[in-house]
Subunit: 210 residues, 2 copies
Amino acid sequence: MERTQDPRTVPASPAGRRGRPRSFDRETALEKAIMAFWEHGYEATSVSDLTRIMGIGAPSLYAAFGDKRALFDEVVAEYGRRYAAFGERALAEEPTARAAVARILREAAECYTAPDRPQGCLYAHAATNCTSPEVGERLREKRNEAIAAVESRIRADIAAGRLPADTDARALARHAGAVVQGMSQQARDGASRAELTALAEIALSIWPRT
Amino acid sequence: MERTQDPRTVPASPAGRRGRPRSFDRETALEKAIMAFWEHGYEATSVSDLTRIMGIGAPSLYAAFGDKRALFDEVVAEYGRRYAAFGERALAEEPTARAAVARILREAAECYTAPDRPQGCLYAHAATNCTSPEVGERLREKRNEAIAAVESRIRADIAAGRLPADTDARALARHAGAVVQGMSQQARDGASRAELTALAEIALSIWPRT
DNA sequence: GTCTTTCTGTAGCGATCACTAGACAAATGT
DNA sequence: ACATTTGTCTAGTGATCGCTACAGAAAGAC
């Protein structure tokens, strides 16, 4: 539990590592995998797709990442850190639930239509209709956790008197979540950034003005 | 072009049809296929899944429906007639765009959480992350057509003076579409009918009171 | 140098995919 | 009766799936 670090996640070459060093950069390979899963989803991205896109052989992929499922788990985690953190940041940094949701909707419109990236949200689309139930369940939890986080932020505002006491926090959170999820779908269906932004502004008008 | 009717779609047994009659009911087999594709999506439903669920052998399936792709096309068409027609009906029957959208959102909450049926909307989920691009494109068109239909209904109301002249019809239609699509996702993620109904009522509050 | 360790490339594993050839079964037409 | 037409069944097609055995290549340890 001291020197034993998982050899798969280690950068391979720096001092102490014996044997032939890895011939590819693990991080950039993971980034390619993120893009592939993001665009085509878990099932529709085959291991041979991955090896071609990542530029490595299958045995190298399995040595570095475990198996397809473990690679996807790592992709989901890294995607969360790199591309889906704007939600948590907004909830943490904005002074009110309304401001947080407003920022989430606006940033979602931008994030989901960023050029040179797959459109929409990986959490929403990469594991729908999944043969492996656990993979689908993993992203389902991510979606429900996101809605629950908004809900508890709303509850905090209600408790602080910033929102009416009879506010239906759960429904309000589900509404925000539904709009975000619908925006992701529409981004994949070809909606422009301007269209999603206009959509988001309309959705925001349900919130009582502060 | 007169007596030649596609033998695959004909009920098989009534007078005039020679040869061994079909040993299963084509309509109920199609209904089973609808449920299977609705629940698991196009790719995740294998032909052997279908033959097991429909209770027929693979050659019978291919003789009666063509191939997997043609069966799915027929499933989509029948699903549209049986389960997704509430949208068109609302747009045709309600006196205003607002009333139509209100009815669509409320009926979607019910339709997407009907017991003993797959949750959510087949159009929204059955062909995401699809290996075959045409299949995915087919349902994408359905989704975009639905939004366009709402948009033109809104434009009619604007032209008739029932909505302000500066109303952004496209954004308003996309908003309604996003809410419906998000409701479908959340139904699949476990939301109850009551939760979706509450969500829908909130979304409706963006519309100016008539 | 040689030994050990680790990674890479080839080549192929068994399982499943969508799909079908061919033999038999069951109806109608004459 | 018999021929014709059509459906069903068994059994299997080639292709692809995720994954890996094995041999050779490239590094540190001695």
